[in-house]
């Protein structure tokens, strides 16, 4: 018995060195070669960090593309979804109110034009993307607010729409932060 206790403790110590020091530090060193040096890829504007490429931000103003609703207000110190069940009456009331808001800011839209991702909260609360459809339906509003030709904004949306992996795997998506930054550059 005593023999096995000592073996267990010694083996655990050896494995702690291998698995908790050698392995993670080697990966951390290799990560220095990646975009963002293993600390997350940052996005700069005029030399200042304005965000992380992978983390969504809140864009409440009508001249920007609106991202998805977030249960945590895009506060990246934490993360999480609404965890509301599909039949919860309070939840359905919230969705209904969000649809009304979208319709108010985009009066030309019909309900069937609104894709679900624009009125439902993401799982992480930090979803950086919206669907292609969610971007397209906002073009008209943004063009009106910014007094820019709709076609120019539509071109931008096409440019910032990420294709599926290898062209065939997974959904299309649009990174909202990158699109909005490009929008500000547009003359």
């Amino acid at each position: 018995m005593k023999k096995y206790i000592i073996q267990s403790i010694r083996l655990s110590l050896v494995l702690l060195v291998l698995l908790c020091i050698i392995y993670p530090i080697s990966i951390a060193i290799a990560a220095k070669l990646s975009n963002g040096n293993g600390g997350g890829e940052k996005i700069y504007k005029n030399g200042k960090v304005v965000g992380y490429a992978l983390l969504g931000q809140s864009f409440p103003q009508p001249q920007y593309f609106l991202g998805r609703p977030s249960a945590i207000g895009y506060n990246a110190a934490g993360s999480g979804g609404s965890n509301k069940g599909p039949s919860n009456p309070d939840y359905l009331a919230v969705i209904s109110a969000r649809i009304d808001t979208v319709l108010k800011y985009n009066p030309s839209l019909k309900r069937k034009d609104i894709p679900a991702d624009l009125v439902t909260a993401s799982g992480s609360g930090l979803d950086p993307d919206i669907s292609e459809q969610a971007a397209i339906i906002q073009i008209k509003r943004i063009a009106a607010y910014r007094k820019i030709d709709e076609r120019k904004i539509a071109e931008l949306v096409v440019k910032y729409t990420d294709r599926p992996l290898l062209g065939i795997l997974g959904p299309k998506r649009v990174n909202v932060l990158k699109l909005n930054l490009a929008l500000d550059e547009l003359k």
């Binding site: 083996l11 908790c20 304005v50 992978l54 991702d117 439902t120």
Partner: protein, 572 residues
């Protein structure tokens, strides 16, 4: 065909294409035959030397279990104290507090047991020291424990009659050096080059385009996310698990994480067949498991891709499916695929919030965890399935009026008794646990605890019941996913689920290993015309029927009160 479908079909076939050769490789590794990774032998020899281990020492099944339980208890004690005092220990750049005793109890049991139910949130609840030296460490060693236990069982059926079943330390160390660690390096590198943080920097702060000051939690995440999937642990670095853009940056990493969590459980089944020199049996079991998994996955896809009927009534478009709690970069198809995998296998990581999935999706998730043997967790999946096999052998034996035999050994009263106890354990823990919690919720809702029981649930009515049922089921299955709306970080849930996880982990390891050990000692009976063949389609169907009947009888009433009732009320 749409790209979301092609994505999941491709993922499935890549997974199988990796798992089958991996299974053959594992059979060779554990049989001590020549393999291309033998260049790692010096590292293993060094580990044995530093630990004072003689791998030539042969152990019988009792000694295997003794050593297994011993080293697991040492990890429980070690981790418990680090969790309690992490605020006073180094590597805590975000200044997170020490855990209260009940939370530390729950967390340590949960990680030792390969469950990874998390009642804390990674960003605010643990230090970097805890993340790496306790949680990630346990993700490696708990997976290796499961694999080593399965190999002990395999060993029992390799030779005709055997008392000595190899050396536990050797199986355990090889699981790490030949399987978990090398694959973790590969997966961690893929993740970090796609944007997952891997460095030791603390929180970052920046001013957003809108002028808000935003803090960003970071840290050495890629290393942990690799092993959390390969080891079917599921405990994420960040609170939102693999739906967090840092844990799972894009569709490629999503595929990699889905493949990573499936290959070892699949490979273990193939390994079983090759290791005991009955590869047809391995493929037969693999077939039953795959059919079972698909029978859960196809209706899941159907219910998620159809969208939320209540939102459809509001007139909006759900072209791709239900989106609440899901991420745009994965889409509903890949999220539904993941939700089935993570529940049939005991991973429990999520790339979308299960609490917000459709009622019938919740039903299939719960059923996947209740069966807990369609692939199942690292090593323990095949152990769970072994119990179903023994029950199926026994019932078939009764049906044809012969003494039941399994792989040339008579299955007698003692073995069947053990199998029955293990079979009854899951319904007992799940139903009793749910009963206790619903009782406290309804009869003592106002008790002055830190969280009043009546405030536990995030959703009313049947869905609220499902939240409690899910929590208990996930604990018993050592799954670790949750209907996260439940307020589970309080003494009641921490203690209840801690106990269930512990029993749900170790008894289903002890039972199958004991049965295998007892069978292996018995005289070998050569196959004759009257032998029940276990690698035929008929017997496969029999096992499948046993699984269906046992689980349907045990859980249908509880499921009817939760997801099924919610489904029918939503149709109105």
């Amino acid at each position: 065909m749409n790209t979301e479908f092609i994505g999941i079909i491709a993922t499935f076939f890549i997974t199988v294409a990796i798992a089958i050769p991996l299974g053959k490789y594992l059979a060779k590794v554990f049989a001590g035959e020549k393999v291309w990774t033998d260049f790692l032998k010096p590292i293993e020899t060094l580990i044995y030397k530093l630990s004072g281990i003689n791998v030539k020492e042969q152990m019988d099944w009792k000694k295997h279990l003794k050593v297994l339980l011993l080293i697991n208890s040492i990890w429980i004690i070690y981790g418990f104290f680090i969790l309690l005092y992490q605020d006073k220990l180094p590597f805590n750049p975000d200044g997170n507090p020490g855990m209260p005793a009940d939370l530390a109890f729950n967390t340590i049991i949960s990680f030792v047991a390969n469950c990874n139910l998390q009642h804390y949130s990674g960003e605010t609840g643990v230090s970097y020291l805890t993340q790496q030296f306790v949680l990630m460490f346990l993700q490696f060693v708990s997976a290796a424990t499961g694999i080593a236990a399965a190999i002990v069982l395999f060993k029992a059926f390799r030779e005709k009659t055997a008392t000595n079943l190899g050396n536990f330390w050797e199986f355990f160390v090889r699981s790490i050096t030949r399987l978990l660690l090398p694959l973790s390096v590969v997966v961690a590198l893929i993740l970090t080059f796609n944007g997952t943080p891997a460095s030791y920097e603390g929180k970052d702060q920046f001013i957003s385009l809108q002028g808000d000051t935003i803090n960003v939690s970071r840290g050495p995440a890629a290393q942990m996310i690799a092993i959390k999937h390969l080891g079917t642990n599921g405990g994420g670095y960040f609170g939102a698990n693999s739906s967090h853009p840092f844990e799972n940056p894009n569709y490629l990493t999503n595929m990699v994480e889905m493949i990573a969590q499936t290959i070892i459980p699949m490979a273990m089944v193939i390994c079983f067949g090759y290791f005991i020199r009955r590869k047809k049996l391995g493929y037969t079991i693999f077939g039953v498991m795959t059919i079972g998994m698909l029978l859960l996955m196809i209706p899941t896809l159907h219910s998620e891709l159809g969208g939320n009927p209540q939102l459809a009534k509001m007139g909006i478009a759900q072209h791709t499916g239900a989106m609440e709690g899901k991420e745009v970069r994965f889409g509903p198809a890949a999220t539904a695929y993941w939700s089935t995998l993570t529940t049939v296998i005991s991973t429990g990581s999520v790339n979308g919030m299960h609490d917000s999935t459709m009622p019938l999706t919740g039903l299939w998730q719960l059923l996947g965890m209740m069966v807990n043997g369609f692939y199942g967790g690292c090593g323990v999946g095949i152990l769970n399935y072994f119990i179903y096999l023994i029950i199926a052998v026994f019932i078939s034996g009764l049906m044809v009026g012969r003494t039941p035999e399994f792989l040339g050994h008579k299955v007698e009263a003692r073995e069947v008794k053990i199998a029955s106890i293990i079979t009854l354990l899951s319904p007992f823990l799940i139903l009793a646990g749910t009963a206790i919690s619903t009782y406290v919720f309804t009869a003592h809702g106002d008790v002055a605890w830190s969280t009043e029981p009546k405030a536990w649930l995030n959703n009313p009515s049947f869905h609220g019941f499902s939240e409690m049922l899910y929590e208990v089921t996930s604990s018993n299955a050592n799954n670790g996913s949750g209907f996260e709306g439940l307020s589970d970080n309080n003494a009641f849930w921490n203690v209840l689920t801690g106990i269930i996880i512990f029993l749900g982990r170790f008894l289903p390891i002890i039972g199958p290993v004991a049965i295998a050990g007892l069978l292996a000692k018995k005289k070998f009976i050569p196959e004759s015309a009257g032998t029940l063949k276990t690698d035929t389609k008929t017997f496969a169907l029999m096992t499948f029927a046993v699984i269906m009947v046992l689980n349907a009888l045990s859980y249908f009433p509880a499921l009817a009160l939760g997801p099924i009732a919610e489904y029918f009320t939503m149709l109105k």
